[in-house]
Amino acid sequence: MGRTWTLIRRRLLQAIPVILIVSIGIFGLLELAGGDAVDAYLAVTGGGDPAFAERLRQQWGLDAGLWVRFLAYVESLVTLDFGWSVVMSKPVSVAILERLPNTALMMGAAIAFSACLGTLLGGIAALRKGTAADAGITVGALVLNAMPSFWIGLIAIVVFAVKLAWFPLGGIASFDRPDLAIGRVLDVAWHLVLPVTVLGLAYMALYVRLMRSAMIETAASDWVRAARARGLPRLRIVRRHMARPALLPVVTMLGLQAGNLLGGSVVVETVFAIPGLGSLAYDAVSQRDLPLIAGILLVGTLMVIVVNLLVDITYARLDPRVTDDRVRAGGA
């Protein structure tokens, strides 16, 4: 398993400058915004005289120069201290950790849903290239891609929650939680059907397009012609010789899409009232809780890095051509 470890080590090393640049950027943004933690604190606690504010600034190390403050900021990040959230009135790290599981669950399900359905539809479109099915799938993907996710979400609520009453209006679980564990799991799943579908559909188009063009490419390849000449069954050719190599760019896309889905979760969680990272970001933004926003941005970046790492490992398993050399060159 040495190869996988080399890969993980390389990727983590590559992540360091990214995290550094992102934290510099966030620090710069907080500086630009003006108003520090003391202002936020005083605004909530009902104010205080300038002398008290000055004392607090000294106490919190906010009266020092830019460079010192930046170092203090980096130091607090290293110790995973993201500061105090005024809106949630608890440490930022606690507020984020509380909300993380819901978002991770929703994102994971949405990524799986959009990737599976997208590649399936893209594959079908490629096999039926030029037919009505191909045109329907291609146009459908384009139209879905153009719809704002909050709009799809609200329409889904009107149709499936209000009119048909198949699914709940929002939230992550019922107030009267079922006693049995299995019942609770089903309850959460039932609540997640609409948001996951909406989030997945909004980001599905890319997979459809990618899979379609990759399949059309592999269909014209020499090895598929050779497989046909050998008289292999059609289904086997489609699965082993066309779909499998075509899946590689799709796997890469999973990592690139992770950040987009996390952004999309803000809107979807707000629409469906799901207590996750996205709706936390919305609360932070609408009440200008800057430490909380900064913390969410950093954690979001870390999440994207982790998903990309998982994608890279999967990729290396899928494609035996990814050797140590290519890992070192930062390929794949």
Binding site: F150, G259, L262, G263, V266
Partner: protein, 271 residues
């Protein structure tokens, strides 16, 4: 040059032309401030000829909002995309042409911007700097330039060893002069294929920000109209359906045109 335009491209171009005309003619199509209260609240569409698309819960004209919202959406979308593509071209050209540490540094920054969830970044920026139209444009631009930068850099790298570049170097042109005057014109062509996607994403992000209440409150926008209609979702779903559909139509037309442009480019390159 209609030869390579697909049906989709033609439809997209026609719809986009109509949207641009509506945006330009907004003050004549729906005179007055679209945020003014002008009639009875919650009139359904197609009931009163004065308010063809009905009124919202405050008695504001939905048609007027839709028409004026076209301006905001297209303007923000185009401005943000133009800024993003401009930054992307600049970064990509400098990185690709200078190479070395400059390239390394700029690529790390590009990577950072591709890793950070861009919508969260846009949210944070608008929240920190204030919800004005300029800040919304800036936030969208800053979060969507990396794709262009990478594309331009790759093109520059493949072009910079050509003979005509060597000729320019022998003629004594400065390095940046060669980069921007000789190499760049050849490298920006493929960027044309990205314009449609970039503008479409910019319109979607603008509408999402407006939906979350992060846009100029004194300006009507499609996303803001949907957010407003959400309060009466059960009784008057048209207040959500109409402006949201407008976003979808605008993004769809832009991406169809972009698609057609990209495909034409492919055809002309293959020749």
């Amino acid at each position: 040059m209609m030869r390579h335009w697909s049906i989709g491209g033609v439809i997209g171009a026609a719809v986009l032309a109509v949207l641009v005309l509506v945006a330009i003619a907004a003050p004549w199509l729906a005179p007055g401030d679209p945020l003014d209260i002008v009639g009875r609240p919650l009139l359904p569409p197609f009931t009163d000829p004065r308010f063809p698309l009905g009124t919202d819960q405050l008695g504001r004209n939905v048609f007027a909002g839709l028409v004026h919202g076209t301006r905001v959406s297209l303007l923000v979308g185009l401005a943000a995309a133009a800024a993003a593509i401009g930054v992307g071209i600049l970064v990509g050209t400098v990185a690709g042409f200078l190479g070395g540490w400059t390239d390394e540094g700029l690529m790390r920054v590009t990577e950072a911007f591709q890793t950070i969830p861009t919508f969260l970044l846009a949210l944070a920026m608008v929240s920190a700097l204030g919800a004005s139209t300029v800040n919304v444009v800036l936030a969208i631009a800053i979060s969507s330039w990396p794709a262009t930068a990478r594309l331009v850099r790759a093109e520059i790298l493949s072009l910079k060893s050509r003979d005509y570049v060597d000729a320019a170097r022998l003629a004594g042109m400065s390095r940046l002069g060669i980069a921007f005057r000789e190499v760049l014109p050849g490298a920006v062509q493929p960027v044309l294929a990205l314009i449609g996607i970039t503008v479409g994403v910019a319109i979607l992000v603008e509408s999402s920000l407006a939906f979350l209440g992060l846009s100029d409150p004194n300006q009507v926008s499609w996303g803001g109209m949907v957010a407003n209609g959400r309060a009466v979702l059960r009784t008057a779903p048209y207040l959500v359906a109409i402006p949201g559909a407008a976003v979808a139509v605008a993004v769809l037309s832009v991406s169809l045109v972009g698609d057609a442009m990209g495909r034409r480019l492919l055809v002309s390159r293959e020749r």
